[in-house]
């Protein structure tokens, strides 16, 4: 059962990621990225991370991707154009990324003592996660709230019309 679910959602993940690369329209790339993120949420469930699976769907597939599709529509992003630069990056990119993949994959293959993943065993409950988060790691948690506040102010200031003094454009 676990194997079937893993194969289905890993395949969905990879198809979505490859589709993101080869789509010309940004909106199609955004939709395939939503597929990737949702199937990663299922993989989190298979690994027993129930809170993160929910957070993945809500934060990534929900909030962040809605922001992305909103910006794609707001800026009316059309087909991307092929340029001389893109051919150069293609020639350099494929071998470079293949080399990175080879290095990471051999590193993972050499790991000793890695077990199997079962569905029933070792589910990290939300209570267990939040106990550590709100006792030991309370300060980092509070600092992230400051980070979010700064990000809100920064994005409003950046996306606003007008110049630095707040004057409206003529």
């Amino acid at each position: 059962m676990h194997l079937i679910l893993f194969i289905i959602f890993a395949a969905l993940c990879l198809t979505g990621a490859v589709n993101l690369l080869f789509q010309k329209q940004p909106i199609n790339s955004a939709l395939s990225l939503i597929v990737v993120m949702t199937s990663i949420a299922v993989l989190y469930l298979l690994l027993g991370a129930e809170f993160l699976a929910a957070a993945q769907v809500i934060v990534y597939a929900g909030a962040i991707m809605v922001l992305f599709t909103f910006v794609v529509m707001l800026l009316n992003a059309g087909r991307e154009e092929r340029t001389l630069g893109s051919r150069a990056y293609r020639i350099v990119g494929f071998p470079a990324v293949a080399a990175i993949l080879a290095v990471i994959a051999t590193g993972f293959m050499k790991l000793q003592g890695f077990g199997d993943a079962g569905i029933q065993d070792r589910i990290t409950s939300t209570a267990e996660l939040s106990t550590v988060l709100f006792t030991k790691l309370l300060l980092p948690f509070e600092v992230t709230s400051v980070l979010i506040l700064v990000a809100i102010l920064g994005s409003v200031a950046l996306a606003r019309k007008g110049d630095a003094e707040g004057r409206e454009p003529k």
């Binding site: 059962m1 676990h2 194997l3 893993f6 890993a10 990879l14 990621a17 490859v18 993101l20 940004p26 790339s29 990225l33 993120m37 990663i40 993989l43 989190y44 690994l47 991370a49 993160l52 993945q56 934060v59 990534y60 922001l67 992305f68 910006v71 800026l75 991307e80 340029t83 630069g85 893109s86 990056y89 293609r90 990119g93 990324v97 993949l101 990471i104 994959a105 993972f108 293959m109 890695f114 077990g115 199997d116 993943a117 079962g118 990290t124 267990e128 996660l129 550590v132 988060l133 790691l137 980092p140 992230t144 980070l147 979010i148 700064v150 990000a151 920064g154 994005s155 950046l158 996306a159």
Partner: protein, 105 residues
Amino acid sequence: MHLSQEVPLVWYLILSAVLFCLGALGFLIKRNLITVFMSIELMLNAVNLSFVTFAHQWHDVKGQIFVFFVMVVAAAEAAVGLAIIIAVFRARATLAVDRIDLMKL
């Protein structure tokens, strides 16, 4: 191979490595500012997957907490990054990265 068999955790790690490399490839070959940004999100997700796998292997909840913080930072980063993209589009009227290669207008 029997279908009721358990999945080796290394497969999850390999999957996350492949996803990370697809994200890096997208970062290099895509020519649209928004799609380049989406490739960065894909790389973040791939790394999160390997964090959760390691947390599962070593029975340690800290790996999952790390993923939680990565999600928070990614949300903030997406908001600020998209605001920068909107500001760039307003100044240059294009999203092609080849035309946004100068700091000065």
